[in-house]
């Protein structure tokens, strides 16, 4: 492209940006209420809160605007809102309900009292209220991918453009595609789908495949249970991903791209669809982008729920209308992918890193994280941790910092037991392994994997055999059936684990499990099978004593495996006057004895845990016993 054309592209973008900035500035001239309405917010009740704000604002005739934003990452405090009023710092409030919404309108918007007692954090530095960086979590967090998430309206492209969005694309269109590729290569950006393959090398392979039709695919088939980073990003800031895909398409010479999104994520599909429409209207997508000679069309393909389709070759097959069964590689997708043409397939997060790298430079990106793993890691932090949510920390942060500082440790004062990282392909790491830094290579050495970023915290009440069984059940069901070891080996492993959790484990089971695990790992074509034994292998490595307790003592140390526990009401603690447990029992197994104390008929008990939950904290008379044999001992004492 010659100098004049490049200048015309820049000029056209400058006008877009100026218009967007002016429009957004006008919005923020008055009070603005931003309501977090990603799926997590909606589930916690964000929609009634939003309606309540709208109702009260209208009743009082206020000029306040109400805007939908995505997920800020602080999911534990949902529903969240941010209220900006000229003259005050923007304040974020959590745990909203309709009454608090009405009160905030009255006290803050009308009477200038920001109700600091309900505020969580201020967005801009100020003299009256702490900001994100004043919290332990803010010290560790550094946001690149999630930078705009939760602060901008994903349904209005101007919010993104006003923050400099699509600027990287405009600048890149003035350069040769080779220059764009070089920048990505120099940045050492590693693919965030799990394997950590350098994105630049993947793109280069597609360039080297020669001229002709090529495709760019964004993998948003996030299937791991307990992971929702990609969903959060697409629902909160879809344009950043679109811009990254366009930069990739420009670098490799593709004119068509696809978002492969799970059909289970209807809101993400809707928001990406809207984002694509708006980008098209602004001339940022379609023919002659920003008046340059670059054409690119992006479309959505809805995946239909098969975990194995996260694997590149299976994903492409499913786009071709076939069963998602992985194929042997080579040829790599970059040589022969969708419709037999060179295809670049990257994860949502990988694409989202690309625009910031162009905006702030390769050196800036490499200054974050470690030498071999530049940048940040995005995790969905869930399970038994106080502050669940989406977090982004530099690579090299330790798991301990992530769980105990950012997530503030296990909830309810329970003892930490393990961190399950990487979903069904990952592993469970005990407390002793928490000081390893988070990066692709260190985690693999410890037996887990980075995966796409699911991190489930487990506490003392979680049985490691049961969790290993849960993940294996998942992979066993999701195995496509192509490789014998993955199809049958996982089934055998699952059978053994099921037997162990049911108290029918035998000596020698653990050795067979280990042997099978190796066979499954070596005998599977794709990573679904090759990593399926990881949850079993890591729990065997770090928590072997729990397996042995199940097998040799028929005891579940975490009191979780149903067949190995019984419920028991302690007579010395039971209040004769309270009938809560009797009413809560779904099978009428609890009865009142002649002396007024309650007791459980073990024949009828279905171990639903209801009596234990409903017994008032003053008594806490219901306990679980393992092994079940302890019951005779207890009852013997009583008689």
């Amino acid at each position: 492209m010659n100098g004049n054309a490049a200048a015309a592209v820049r000029e056209r973008y400058r006008k877009l940006e100026a218009d967007a900035a002016a429009r957004i500035k006008a919005i923020y001239n008055g009070p603005v209420i931003r309501v977090g309405t990603a799926t997590c917010g909606i589930a916690a009740g964000a929609l009634p809160v939003k309606e309540a704000f709208a109702r009260v604002v209208e009743e009082k005739g206020l000029p306040a605007k109400i805007i939908d934003v995505g997920c800020m990452g602080h999911c534990y405090a949902e529903p969240l809102v941010i209220i900006s009023k000229p003259g005050f710092p923007s304040l974020c409030y959590g745990y909203l309900d309709e009454d608090l919404a009405a009160r905030l309108v009255d006290d803050f918007l009308i009477n200038d009292d920001p109700c600091y007692e309900f505020a969580l954090v201020a967005l801009e530095p100020n003299d009256v209220f702490p900001t994100f960086s004043d919290f332990p979590r803010g010290v560790y967090e550094q946001k690149i991918v999630l930078e705009h998430c939760g602060f901008i309206d994903p349904g209005d492209i101007d919010h993104y453009i006003a923050r400099g969005g699509y600027g990287a694309l405009a600048a890149a269109l003035g350069k040769a595609p080779a220059g764009v590729l070089d920048t990505v290569k120099e940045s050492h950006l590693r693919g965030r789908g799990g394997a950590g393959f350098p994105a630049g090398l993947k793109w280069e392979a597609a360039v080297k495949a020669g001229p002709g039709e090529k495709y760019v695919i964004c993998n948003a088939d996030e299937g791991d249970p307990g992971a929702f980073m990609d969903r959060g990003i697409l629902e909160s800031c879809p344009h950043q991903v679109i811009e990254g895909m366009l930069l990739c398409a420009y670098a490799v010479g593709a004119e068509r791209g696809y978002f492969y999104i799970r059909a289970e994520y209807p809101l993400a599909v809707e928001r990406v669809r809207r984002a694509l429409e708006q980008a098209r209207e602004k001339g940022l997508l379609g023919g002659a982008i920003l008046g340059s000679g670059f054409n690119c069309e992006l479309e959505i393909f809805q995946g239909s729920g098969a975990f194995v389709c996260g694997e590149a070759t299976a994903l492409v097959r499913s786009m071709e209308g076939k069963m998602g069964i992985p194929a042997t590689r080579p040829p790599r997708l970059a040589q022969s992918g969708y419709r037999g043409r060179p295809t670049v397939l990257n994860n949502v997060k990988t694409f989202a890193y690309v625009p910031p790298i162009f905006n702030r430079g390769v050196e800036w990106f490499k200054s974050i994280g470690t030498d071999d793993n530049p940048g940040t890691a995005v995790f969905s932090l869930v399970g038994k941790v106080a502050h669940t949510g989406l977090v982004e920390v530099p690579m090299g942060t330790t798991l301990r910092q992530l769980i105990f500082e950012v997530g503030e440790g296990p909830a309810n004062g329970k003892a930490f037991k393990a961190a399950q990282i990487g979903g069904p392909s990952g592993g469970c790491l005990p407390e002793a392994a928490l000081d390893i830094p988070i990066d692709f290579d260190s985690l693999q050495e410890a037996g887990a994997i980075m995966g796409s970023g699911g991190l489930v915290v487990l506490d003392e009440d979680d049985c490691m055999v049961a969790i290993a069984r849960y993940f294996l059940e998942f992979t066993q069901q999701e195995s496509c059936g192509k490789c014998t070891f993955c199809r049958l080996g996982t089934k055998h492993m699952l059978d053994i684990l099921t037997r162990i959790t049911e108290g029918c484990g035998e000596p020698g089971d653990l050795e067979i499990l280990e042997e099978l695990a190796e066979d499954v790992r070596d005998g599977s074509l794709c990573n679904l099978g090759a990593t399926a034994p990881n949850p079993v292998l890591t729990t065997l490595r770090y928590f072997r004593d729990e397996y042995e307790a199940h097998i040799f003592e028929k005891r579940c140390p975490a009191l979780m495996c149903k067949e190995l526990i019984v419920y028991y009401i302690e007579p010395q603690k039971c209040s004769k006057l309270c009938n809560v447990c009797v009413g809560s029992c779904p099978t009428e197994a609890i009865y009142t004895r002649d002396d007024g104390l309650k007791a459980i008929d073990q024949e009828k008990c279905v171990k639903c845990d209801n009596c234990l939950k409903t017994c008032p904290p003053d008594y806490n008379a219901v306990i679980k016993l393992s092994p079940p044999g302890l019951l005779t001992e207890k009852e013997g004492k009583k008689a």
Binding site: T39, P225, G226, G303, S304, G305, S318, E320, G321, C608
Partner: protein, 188 residues
Amino acid sequence: MPSIHVKRGVFLPLLEGEEELIRKSVSGVLQEYEAAQENLIPILLQVQEMLGYLPGPAMEQIAAALKIPAVDVYGLATFYNQFRLHPPGKHQLKVCMGTACYMVGGRIALECFERRLGIKEGETTPGREFSLERVACVGCCTMAPVVVVDEQVEGKVTPTRVDGILLSFEKPAAPGAEAAGQKGEDAS
């Protein structure tokens, strides 16, 4: 009667006039797409959106239109979790089986529904009143265990809450049950 059998037993019998509805809906969807295998998943998704599930005759009709064997369509429909071969009930119960829900009693909730309704997960009660499914993580891990009742997310579902949910459908006058009761009246 459909000739394709599903994993658990056979299809529930079609309702009166349903076959005609299926034929019409599928024809409508097929007109929007080029008859290529590449469009099979989008076609199936759209048919399911219209009918609520993929009945046997629909799969046969699609196979004929795309000139591929019916077993290929059936293979695809059973390969992907998104497709359902049972008609949805008037009320759809989806029990979350994400990691967090599983660890704190999602399975207990599922078992309670199975016991109360007399069906297994993936099935529909004979009167098409309730359908019961397990779903992967719905992303509400903080409220585990979670059950999605129709479109409403219910958090912290204990066995007593299971009874409560089912009871609320028995008495349409009970608060909160009205909207759910009115919805999908014409399904039967």
